[in-house]
């Protein structure tokens, strides 16, 4: 609750800040104060992706702090505040990185540059820890007794034919998002196939991938 009011204070104090929200992996998006810029489901995806990026880069550089994504008319700034909670702000490009950092630091009474370092480093100091969340769900879904094992292995192998060595990583990430948003079941496999297909850039390859799975389902 404390962070929710502080988020409101930050938004109110800087006219260039058009909104913000809070996120925690175990809680999802909360305190969405983006005034309709995006709904909770969209922000959930955004939060997941950005925290994942920081986590991946942390494997190589253990002093990672926040993340800033620049769009044509908007900047999305995220910083880890406490216990894997993240604060995200959407602001106009005219607002400098220094100003936004200082404002967050003052509002939360933390050093936003230093705060995330310890918590992120703790979770990713071992490179294998970076994929830990995936390993859990993947281990369950790929267990010998899992009814989805054969289907998932087949999808991943097929994906590798189109996008190469990164297929395993991409597939694990897709499965994690899929499992978070759907009940992992045979009925929901088409949803996963559709998500995985988006990772194939070439339109013809993507169509070929989708066609091959459609024909198998019909069989």
């Amino acid at each position: 609750m404390e962070y929710e009011s502080k988020l409101s204070d930050i938004i109110a104090s800087l006219p260039e800040v058009v909104g913000g929200f809070l996120y925690a992996p175990d809680r999802g998006v909360y305190s969405n104060q983006t005034e309709g810029i995006a709904n909770d489901n969209s922000l959930q995806q955004v939060s997941f992706k950005l925290t994942k990026i920081v986590s991946m880069i942390s494997v190589h550089f253990q002093d990672t702090g926040g993340i800033r994504v620049s769009f044509r008319d908007l900047i999305l700034f995220g910083t880890q505040i406490e216990n894997e909670q993240w604060l995200f702000l959407l602001h106009q490009p005219s607002l400098s990185a220094g100003m936004i950092k200082m404002t967050v630091q003052m509002a939360l009474n933390i050093d936003v540059a230093d705060q995330p370092q310890t918590t992120i480093a703790q979770t990713v100091v071992d490179p294998s820890a970076e994929v830990q969340p995936n390993q859990d769900i993947m281990a369950i879904l790929l267990a010998d007794e899992s009814e989805l094992r054969e289907s998932l292995i087949h999808i991943q192998e097929e994906l590798a034919q189109y996008i190469g060595p990164v297929a395993e990583l991409v597939f694990k990430d897709s499965v994690e998002i899929w499992a978070a948003n759907n009940t992992p079941s045979s009925e929901n496999i088409p949803e996963l196939i559709s998500m995985v297909a988006q990772e194939i850039d070439d339109e013809e390859d993507r169509k070929s991938f989708l066609d091959s799975h459609t024909s198998k389902e019909e069989e």
């Binding site: 995806q45 990026i53 800033r68």
Partner: protein
């Protein structure tokens, strides 16, 4: 059409500590970073995640992303179609200014 040699000039840009150009299948096309192969998959996956953000944010077009580090040696990721460019910047360089310089360089190649 730009070649890998053209991209090698990225290393000469003031503020660029290291760069890595990776194809979307993880193949490193050009780099001046000793850990490039290890970093490649993180750059590709980060770029793909950023590309997909436009779907979550009403079609907003992603330009680049910057992972901040306490050392100041931030990591920037640019999306170039089937390729992704990772830049590790010098600590004392302004990230926005460097991003603008990189964008100008990339436009000059196309």
């Amino acid at each position: 059409m730009a070649t890998a040699k053209d991209f090698s000039r990225l290393g000469d840009i003031e503020g660029v500590s290291s760069y890595i150009l990776v194809r979307n299948d993880g193949y490193v096309v050009s780099e001046n970073y000793e850990e490039a192969v290890a970093l490649a998959s993180a750059i590709v996956t980060s770029g793909k995640y950023c590309d997909s953000l436009s779907e979550d944010l009403e079609g907003r077009r992603y330009i680049y992303c910057c992972v901040e580090r306490t050392s100041g040696d931030n990591v920037l990721v640019f999306s170039l179609g089937r390729y992704y460019l990772g830049i590790i910047k010098h600590a004392d360089c302004d990230p926005q200014q460097l991003a603008d310089t990189i964008i100008g360089f990339l436009k000059g190649l196309s």
